[in-house]
């Protein structure tokens, strides 16, 4: 009866990549939860839609780990919203995750591009 929380209409997210993308998104400045979802959606050329059931737990987890912190601010439309911001340790974390990600992509790419042996 229950449905998987990570059920995306597009591509199944790889484990751990959501955290990295959130950190990456926050590199451009503080953003609220909805904005982060929109940004990832847009930057993936509409390929990734982040379930709120994954997004908010991830945000709170990252905050607990100290990689981001949050602040209530008023938007242009005079609404109160919770803005997340990358911390110093979060920046380091993002760097290390990014380089790990790149190494992995290369490695996978190597495997996948290798011509088939007849």
């Amino acid at each position: 009866m229950t449905s998987s929380k990570h059920d995306n209409q597009g591509i199944e997210l790889l484990q751990g990549t959501l955290d990295m993308m959130i950190l990456r998104t926050l590199q451009w400045g503080p953003q609220h939860g909805h904005g982060i979802g929109i940004a990832i959606h847009a930057n993936s050329h509409d390929a990734l839609r982040i379930e709120r059931g994954s997004l908010y737990p991830a945000l709170h987890r990252l905050e607990r780990q100290g990689w981001i912190d949050s602040e209530w601010k008023t938007t242009e439309n005079k609404q109160r919203a919770k803005y997340y911001r990358l911390t110093r340790t979060g920046r380091k974390q993002l760097a290390s995750e990014e380089s790990r990600w790149n190494r992995m992509v290369e490695a996978i790419a190597c495997v996948m591009r290798r011509p088939r042996e007849e």
Binding site: T2, R52, R61, R64
Partner: protein, 911 residues
């Protein structure tokens, strides 16, 4: 973020209302933002809002998943479970009340009995290293003469060990190896105390000066007794027990330093003993603690610091660290040999066990109470365990029924996405909560319940033990609770979680109602069997009680007031004591409303009676050397006052003076045992030499009386001798007066008290009670068993009614369609109700069939506690079985009626 902010963010969500509200705001903002986005794209407000919500997903789930990351998930969910469980339990108050109260009774009974067991059998004194303490006993043939022995015997590894030593022997033991052990001595006596203008008897114990320090007993106030107090000629000092301080002085701290009068001498109070300390003899209450050297002040002729033939000092040793019991014993054995060599006096018998020291565990004081209490306690614990078994079965039954009734709810919750594990936890929480509430209530009722049992079972004297809920008792209760809640919580829970959803969701389906009827029937059968055992036990004890009450004590106990006077402790010695007793008696007899007064050297139906070897002067048969008889010293018209018929001869009276020939009355058993026949009057006997006692003068039988019960209604009559006080002035230690009054003897107490006080204001009376009470109290233990098994049997039967009603009602509800069809096909309503009744009766019959052999096996174990009733007494078994059948019929009656009233048309239409 501030420090407090950080702290707050670490708390479980239930405490983080602010954080939870923030999360709500955050989510609301997200949805509003999304709505706005969609409206900007041209959607209408309603459709934008609806689709935004839809795409967001399950708000509650998102909230829960997010909160889970806060790190308090488990506790949070636990608290949520608890809150939900509380709501569920509140919604069915009847179930909750029955479940909790029956569990409380089961747990309360077990905790109460176990707290008694712990207090009496297990608990060590709260002193440093109690495991180093040893009681010193002796066994074998003492080569010292034995003038008087004040103490008791205990059996250890098949050897009979004796508790007391003459003081000189104690001294030699104490001095023999101080590097191996320290030895303290103690003895007890009754003293007369005058404090705050009133005289009363007080239970005192004499201790050697080193005892408190060596055992490690620190006074609550002032100081304890020290070695310098324990010298003849040292200033007279006393330490009060906490109990006495409370009773006599309302815990006034100012009493330390004051002077009270003990046995006529001024004595200064130096300290108050700690509250837990009740002496070294569990079960006995003490009031005063005096130095051993002041023992002469007790007035007892049996206590002496010099005489080697008076055995009265009990010894407790503390082994030095690292010293083994064997080393201490070896050192003591040497002393025993020396003592033996020093006393050539009585080395007549040989080939017997040599005199040896025996060391027993002393961490909890002397063992008499433990020995007496162990089998009654085990019996009570078995009863309590049975009760718990029944309450558990009952609860399992109730929960199974509820599980079945709630299967639709469970199915709905599973269907809308609750995890099975979460549901399991939810149900486990409910049963754990019920068990915890039951345990808390049980713990609360346990101490008063234990006190009630104790008061009921102890008889005349309240047993002095510290009952409390301490470590082991509480731990046991928690263990019982856990096991119970697992036992009754698991089955329904597992069953519930295995439920098939679709049939359960269909209302009225039989699967939803049925759930585990077979299991519940088995449970009921078991409950019936166990209740049978309890009720049979109740029947056996009740019949024992009836038989005991019907025993003729041999005299007329009605309208008799009894009390004691201890002249020796108030300063009267030897013949003076006999004279004052006689004066009291005469004064009482001249009091108008008092018909007659008599005195005996032991209370009738009291604990014990003296027994001594006799020599029959004119007997030429084989009895010589082994004839023994109980003996009592009596005064006044003992036989006519108590209504004991004299068969031959006369009662001793004024003619029998110290100068005239010695006379006595003997009982029928005496005449029978020593084949005097009709010629008993005028025949003669004497007390044989034993120990230091010289052979007595020849005593002539003046009369023969009917047999009388002296110490217990259970024992067969023993040969007995009644000696007149006038010719035996030393034979009356503490005098028990028996006064024949008008009805309601206790109302004469103040009259009697005044009569004694008029003679000597320093002479109090003690142990005031009626002779009838004295007799009933002699079978207090049997009555306790009868009341406990009866009460618990009734409770068990009541639980069977609840269980049986539940199962039958459920079965009827489940079978309603079938019953409807049967009735449509022509079954009579009587047949239908019989069908239902029969099922309940067959369950009961199954239980009875199991209960009878179980009962036969178990009742054999209580044979010793029964009187004139066989453990297999058919009457008790039949009564229990009949009771169970009656109860079963009653329980099944209402559902059976309902079944009979089934309307075929209604049922068939509803299907």
């Amino acid at each position: 973020m501030s420090f407090w902010g950080k702290v707050r963010r670490r708390l479980p969500a239930v405490f983080q209302t602010e954080r939870t509200r923030e999360l709500d705001d955050e989510i609301r903002f997200d949805i509003e933002q999304e709505t706005q986005l969609r409206m900007d794209r041209g959607e209408s407000q309603e459709s934008a809002r609806a689709s935004a919500r839809r795409d967001f997903g399950n708000v509650t789930l998102v909230q829960e998943d997010t909160r889970d990351t806060w790190g308090w998930m488990r506790l949070d969910r636990g608290l949520q479970d608890v809150r939900f469980a509380l709501r569920v339990l509140r919604k069915s108050p009847l179930f909750t009340a029955v479940a909790i109260s029956s569990l409380a009774i089961g747990i309360g009974a077990n905790t109460a009995v176990f707290s008694l067991i712990d207090a009496i059998l297990f608990r060590a004194m709260p002193v440093r290293h109690p495991e180093q303490l040893r009681l010193v006993f002796w066994a074998g043939e003492p080569k010292l003469s034995m003038g008087n022995f004040a103490g008791y015997a205990t059996r250890t590894r098949g050897i009979e060990a004796q508790s007391s030593f003459p003081f000189p022997a104690y001294r030699r033991l104490a001095d023999c190896a101080p590097q191996l052990f320290a030895l303290g001595g103690f003895a007890h006596a009754q003293l007369t105390v005058r404090a705050r203008g009133e005289s009363e008897y007080a239970a005192a114990f004499f201790v050697t000066g080193n005892l408190l320090q060596e055992v490690g007993i620190r006074p609550t106030l002032g100081r304890g007794l020290v070695p310098s107090d324990d010298h003849v000629g040292a200033p007279a000092v006393v330490a009060l027990t906490y109990r006495y301080w409370e009773r006599a002085f309302d815990r006034d701290p100012g009493v330390v330093g004051q002077t009270i009068t003990i046995s006529g001498r001024p004595v200064m109070i130096v300290g108050i003993l700690p509250r837990w300390f009740r002496g070294f003899e569990p079960g006995w209450n003490y009031d005063l603690m005096l130095p051993m050297a002041s023992v002469a002040s007790s007035g007892s002729i049996w206590y002496s610091l010099d005489r080697p033939d008076l055995w009265w000092v009990q010894a407790i040793a503390r082994l030095r660290p690292g010293v083994t019991e064997e080393q201490a014993r070896a050192a003591m054995t040497k002393v025993f040999r020396v003592t033996e060599a020093n006393s050539p006096e009585a080395a007549r018998r040989s080939g017997r066990l040599p005199w040896i020291p025996i060391l027993l565990d002393g961490s909890a004081g002397t063992p008499q109470l433990r020995e007496d209490a162990i089998s009654p306690l085990m019996l009570m614990q078995s009863v309590a365990a049975i009760v718990l078994l029944i309450t558990c079965a009952n609860l399992a039954n109730l929960l199974l029924a509820r599980g079945a009734a709630r299967s639709r709810e469970i199915a709905v919750r599973l269907a809308i996405g609750a995890g099975r594990s979460r549901l399991l936890r939810q149900f486990a929480t409910e049963s754990l909560l019920t068990a915890a509430a039951g345990a808390a209530l049980g713990l609360a009722v346990a101490p008063p319940f234990a006190r009630v049992i104790l008061r009921m079972a102890a008889g005349a004297e309240p047993l002095a033990i510290n009952i409390g809920l301490d470590g082991p008792v509480v731990l046991l209760t928690i263990a019982i609770t856990l096991v119970t809640s697992l036992a009754f919580g698991l089955i329904p829970t597992v069953r519930a979680s295995r439920l098939e959803l679709s049939p359960a969701l269909k209302e009225g389906s039989s699967a939803a109602l049925g759930g585990g009827l077979r299991g519940r029937r088995l449970m009921i059968g078991g409950q019936v069997a166990v209740s049978m055992v309890l009720l049979t036990g109740a029947g056996l004890f009740a019949r024992t009680l009836v038989k005991l009450s019907a025993v003729d004590p041999g005299y007329d106990p009605s309208r008799i007031l009894t009390f004691t006077v201890d002249a020796a402790s108030s300063g009267y010695q030897g013949p003076a004591a006999a004279r004052v007793y006689e004066q009291i008696r005469e004064r009482l007899e001249t009091t108008p409303t008092i018909q007659a007064a008599t005195i005996s050297s032991i209370p009738l139906m009291g604990e014990s009676v003296g027994n001594a070897p006799i020599v029959l002067a004119d007997d030429h048969s084989s009895h010589a050397g082994e004839a023994r008889a109980d003996y009592l010293v009596v005064a006044g018209h003992f036989f006519s006052t108590l209504g004991i018929p004299l068969l031959f001869g006369r009662e001793p009276d004024g003619r029998d003076t110290p100068a005239s020939p010695k006379v006595a009355v003997v009982n029928e058993a005496f005449v029978r045992a020593y084949s005097f026949g009709r010629n008993a009057v005028g025949s003669r006997f004497r007390f044989a030499a034993h120990g230091a006692a010289q052979p007595g003068e020849l005593i002539e039988v003046a009369g023969v009386c009917k047999d009388v019960r002296h110490s217990s209604l259970r024992y067969a009559f023993q040969p007995a001798i009644y000696l007149p006080l006038s010719q035996n002035p030393d034979g009356m230690g503490i005098a028990t007066f028996e006064v024949r009054t008008l009805p309601r003897p206790l109302t004469f107490t103040s009259l009697v008290r005044r009569a004694v006080a008029d003679l000597d204001r320093g002479l109090p009376i003690g142990d005031v009670r009626t002779q009838e009470d004295q007799i009933t109290q002699s079978f207090a233990l049997e009555r306790t068993f009868a009341v406990l098994t009866g009460a618990f049997g009734a409770l068990a039967a009541a639980l069977v009614v609840i269980g049986l009603y539940g199962v039958t009602a459920c079965a009827v509800a489940r079978r309603t369609p079938e019953l409807g069809i049967r009735m449509a096909l022509g079954a009579k309503s009587r047949e239908v109700s019989w069908m239902v009744l029969r099922e309940s009766l067959s369950m009961t019959a199954m239980g009875i069939a199991t209960g009878i052999p179980a009962g036969l096996a178990l009742t054999r174990l209580v044979r010793a506690s029964l009187y004139a009733v066989a453990p297999s007494d058919p009457f008790s078994f039949l009564l229990a079985a009949a009771l169970m059948l009656a109860v079963a019929t009653a329980a099944a009656w209402i559902p059976a009626r309902r079944a009979a009233l089934t309307d075929a048309a209604t049922v068939l239409r509803s299907q």
